[in-house]
């Protein structure tokens, strides 16, 4: 980017291409470019432009809503949701391991009772992460598993519970109703539960991610986002419009398929990677 001999117009076009191919989206790209040319009408140096762009993106990524308070409830209940195949189950494995490493007692509720071998997959992750797991049989009521999971966590003095749910498209009304039912089951056992609702998004997803955030948030309220598969070539730029539109914090990024491949989100590093 910004090789010597480029005119300012070429530079702006190069920037537009970079932003759009990062999945930042047309409208957000136009807004960013308009903002920058308004704030800095005299910009003539590529390095200056790059720095200003990064700052603009970081400011869009810094949501007003602070990330949820340090977990004080016991157990702290986290519900994991998202569309099919984005990495929910794997992310729970990673989060459970992280919590175990921090000395917390972890329990996982296998509330995906629908997809083939979903429970078996989670059992393996629970073992890797040193967490207990509560499961029923295939096709059991997911809300019942969620409820039993929290009940077991209370009985066993667990610090944190992760509730895995089946992947579902945000446009499927009956499946979104099921998610509401699971959420209600959690609050039946602990009135403030779930204390966190983590929406998992795939970094290779384009503009459809906005629709996913909107509908999951409308249905059950989303408190944080995990963006997976950033170890590929996708830039995940869609989070820029998500953070500025919905003011929901991006908490974690997934960068691989192993237990340790989860990092806290860092807006500066993310903005750097875009350029």
């Amino acid at each position: 980017l910004f090789k010597s001999g480029t005119t300012m117009e070429d530079l702006w076009e190069e920037i537009e291409e970079r932003l759009i191919t990062s999945d930042i989206g047309v409208q957000t790209t136009m807004d960013i470019m308009e903002n920058i040319s308004k704030k800095f009408p005299k910009i003539s140096n590529p390095d200056q432009l790059k720095a200003v762009l990064k700052e603009e993106i970081i400011s869009l990524l810094n949501t007003q809503t602070a990330a949820p308070e340090k977990a004080t409830a016991k157990p702290h209940v986290v519900m994991i949701v998202g569309i099919n195949g984005v990495g929910k189950t794997t992310t729970i494995g990673k989060l459970a391991a992280k919590s175990s490493d921090e000395g917390k007692k972890v329990l996982i509720a296998a509330a995906d009772t629908f997809r083939a071998a979903a429970i078996e997959q989670l059992v393996i992750w629970a073992e890797k992460a040193g967490a207990d797991i509560v499961r029923h049989r295939d096709n059991a009521d997911p809300a019942a598993v969620a409820y039993d999971g929290v009940e077991a966590a209370v009985a066993r003095g667990k610090d944190i519970v992760f509730v895995d749910t089946a992947g579902r498209l945000h446009t499927k009304i009956s499946l979104m109703e099921e998610l509401k039912k699971i959420r209600r089951a959690l609050s039946k056992k602990i009135p403030d539960a779930p204390h966190e609702v983590l929406l998992v998004l795939d970094a290779t997803t384009g503009q459809n991610a906005l629709s996913q955030v909107r509908l999951f948030n409308n249905a059950i309220g989303v408190t944080g986002i995990a963006l997976t598969k950033l170890d590929g070539t996708a830039k995940g730029g869609i989070v820029v419009s998500i953070c500025s539109t919905f003011d929901i914090p991006l908490k974690y990024i997934g960068v691989g398929e192993q237990l340790e491949d989860l990092h806290d989100f860092d807006p500066a590093l993310f903005a750097d990677a875009l350029f």
Binding site: E17, I20, T21, S22, D23, G25, V26, Q27, I83, N84, G85, V86, G87, R115, A116, A117, E120, Q121, V123, I124, W125, L169, H170, T171, D202, T204, T205, G206, Q207, N208, A209, S211, K229, D231, G232, T233, A234, K235, I238, E257
Partner: protein, 292 residues
């Protein structure tokens, strides 16, 4: 939507009499935005707009009483042409047992599609054999085994400690012995930039010579679709694509990007999680989905 936006672009001209080139260019700007919002790749959009510019500046638009609708018609025609003439089926040629190989990124829907293809093949009078070749993902082999059991389709008893190349070779031998005429090889999801794992796919291909290699890709993939498809095609020479999760509200611009950059046909679309939810791809329906 695009139709309304184009109508408003051209409505401003109702009083000005003759349509000018600049007006059509403004209309094409709206088309460009619509395609980018549908996740079509930046460079694919640039080329597409350039290619249709000549026709858009021709008589059919300039002389029309409804230039907005004419532009939409041109875009729809050209998109449909780009997406392919008609449905292209699985390539099942060569001596039995014929292997079909499913490849693609993590979570795109390969294992589920394997089950769906088994249903389709059996409907067409074939005897499919499911082969779990994913030895990495926890419970992946069990997942395909469960699907096979649901469908009463035989599944090769893969051992997760074995090399996937060896698994596929042994599966071919077993299929030949048991009289199954088609093998469906379900491979582990992998990044197109993972050299070691992409090489594993080449080794599987060279060991069993699949008659068709299908890239299973998510319909809601964004700009990265071009990178994924290009790499997979360059490394493996894919036969076609299955676009999954088309039952959502993604516009599916990835379909256009993938077709434009590889030239390979989209053969099927996944329209749900159930094993009967696989449909043949129709270029014209995709074109109108992308346009929104």
């Amino acid at each position: 939507n695009l139709s309304e936006r184009l109508d408003s672009v051209f409505k401003k001209l109702k009083g000005h009499g003759k349509l000018k080139e600049k007006d059509v260019e403004d209309g094409l700007k709206e088309v460009r935005i619509a395609l980018l919002e549908a996740d079509v790749h930046y460079k694919v959009v640039k080329k597409f707009i350039n290619d249709i510019k000549e026709r858009a500046l021709g008589q059919e638009v300039m002389k029309s009483l409804t230039p907005g609708q004419q532009v939409i018609k041109i875009v729809n025609d050209e998109l449909t042409k780009l997406m392919g003439a008609s449905h292209e089926d699985l390539n099942l040629s060569g001596p039995v047992p014929i292997p079909v190989m499913l490849v693609g990124l993590q979570g795109s829907g390969k294992t589920t599609t394997a089950g769906k293809l088994a249903v389709l093949m059996r409907k067409n009078g074939r005897k499919p054999y499911l082969v779990p070749a994913d030895v990495y993902r926890p419970a992946a082999i069990k997942q395909l085994k469960k699907l096979g059991d649901q469908l009463d389709v035989p599944v090769f008893p893969s051992d997760a400690k074995k090399d996937p190349v060896k698994i596929c070779r042994e599966a071919v031998k077993k299929a030949r012995k048991e009289g199954y005429d088609t093998l469906i090889l379900d491979t582990a999801g992998r990044l197109h930039v993972d050299e070691e794992l992409m090489t594993e796919l080449v080794r599987i291909r060279d060991a069993v010579h699949p008659s068709d290699i299908l890239l299973v890709a998510d319909a809601m993939t964004g700009q990265d679709a071009v990178n994924i498809a290009k790499s997979y095609d360059e490394i493996l020479d894919i036969g076609g694509v299955v676009l999954t999760k088309m039952d959502g509200d993604a516009r599916g611009g990835a379909a256009l990007s993938i077709k434009a950059v590889t030239g390979k046909p989209i053969k099927f679309i996944g329209v749900g999680e159930k094993l009967n939810q696989l449909e043949p791809f129709h270029p014209d329906r995709m074109a109108s989905s992308i346009l929104g």
